[in-house]
């Protein structure tokens, strides 16, 4: 059983470091480390992002357990639609980082929610959507390796949960690295806000360009 638990995490890490989810990982890293000057916000964002991924994988696993849908059909559906939806999401995330668009959601009490809170909460949905957008490698590892393992170990919730943590680990690692690194450099030059702005701008531009590329390729052409 311990072997199975370790395998689940490892499969998650393998999924995350394969070249195919690179764009979504860059998006996640930059989004999580958006407020690098605030370490607490980076930590909460990381946790929420992980929870989002966990939610996605356990939901899929649950759907498979109730077996309302055939695994191959579900896998192919998520791959076809995942890649189409990623482009627009990358553009919006990028535009948000560049502060080209701002979101204002009035809270129930009538006062407006602080934008930082919305950003932090967004991490959860980013994790959820990125996890649902399967690419061939992640589909092979999740549906082809993890699900059979979960079925044979009769652990259809715990193993997908660990897999979800595994897929989030590299992203959290890099986000923390940026947060710690830039705050070190920042205190050195007392210019942290400037560095934060630079990193955010660079990431934002990368995301918008990648998003447009994905959208053109997978929605307009294919």
């Amino acid at each position: 059983m311990i072997m199975a638990l370790a395998t689940a995490i490892w499969l998650g890490i393998l999924t995350s470091i394969s070249p195919c989810p690179l764009a979504t990982n860059i998006a996640a890293v930059s989004y999580i480390s958006k407020n690098i000057s605030n370490r607490k916000s980076v930590a909460i964002s990381s946790i929420l992002y992980t929870l989002g991924r966990i939610a996605a994988y356990t939901i899929i696993s649950a759907i498979i357990v109730i077996s309302v849908i055939s695994i191959p059909k579900l896998s192919n559906f998520l791959q076809v639609w995942g890649i189409k939806i990623i482009g627009p999401i990358l553009i919006l995330t990028g535009a948000f980082l560049l502060e080209l668009i701002t979101i204002n959601i009035p809270s129930l009490s009538g006062t407006r929610l602080k934008p930082e809170k919305i950003t932090t909460a967004g991490s959860f949905f980013l994790g959820l959507i990125f996890a649902l957008s399967f690419c061939p490698v992640s589909a092979a590892l999740f549906f082809g390796s993890l699900i059979p393992l979960a079925v044979s170990e009769e652990s259809k919730i715990l193993l997908p949960l660990l897999y979800g943590i595994g897929t989030a680990l590299p992203v959290i690692f890099f986000a923390s690295l940026i947060a710690i690194g830039s705050s070190k450099v920042g205190t050195l030059f007392t210019k942290i806000t400037k560095i934060e702005k630079w990193i955010r701008t660079i990431f934002g531009i990368i995301l918008v360009i990648t998003g447009i590329y994905y959208t053109v390729l997978y929605i307009f052409i294919n």
Binding site: V80, L92, I212, F220
Partner: protein, 160 residues
Amino acid sequence: MNKKKTAGIVLILFVILSIFVLVAKEITKKETPKEKTALPTKKITEKEHIKVFYFHGNVRCPSCKKIEAYTRETVNSRYKNEMEKGLIEFHEINIDKPENAKYIDKYQLMTKQVILAEYKNGKETKWKDLDKIWELLGDKEQFQMYEDMEISAWLKEINR
């Protein structure tokens, strides 16, 4: 500030347009009757033979292309004689085409996969998913050795 706002609006409009195109494409896809594309004429080989299938979708990622290239190379270079004799056939199939959707359930296809199928008297007698290909993709030699071992084991059986 205004420039920022304009850029934001342009990007949002682009996103809305893309969603519109996506939905429109989906609707028209459902409306157009399935065109009947002539299936490639199959040689009816009565003798026993093995089919090596490579399944993919409309979207081709670098790893998927690599799988196809490695598999083609394995078959073409190591089984040239058998290919000429008709003992081995290589088929590359796009499962996003409606006429090929049947393969998804038949071989339980979840992603881009390589499937071996054995044919006797024109009928498929067994099939196998070469499921280790994704793990071995990083090592061309291991990848091709794995495919080679599987194919040669099956070939031995039909050659008996």
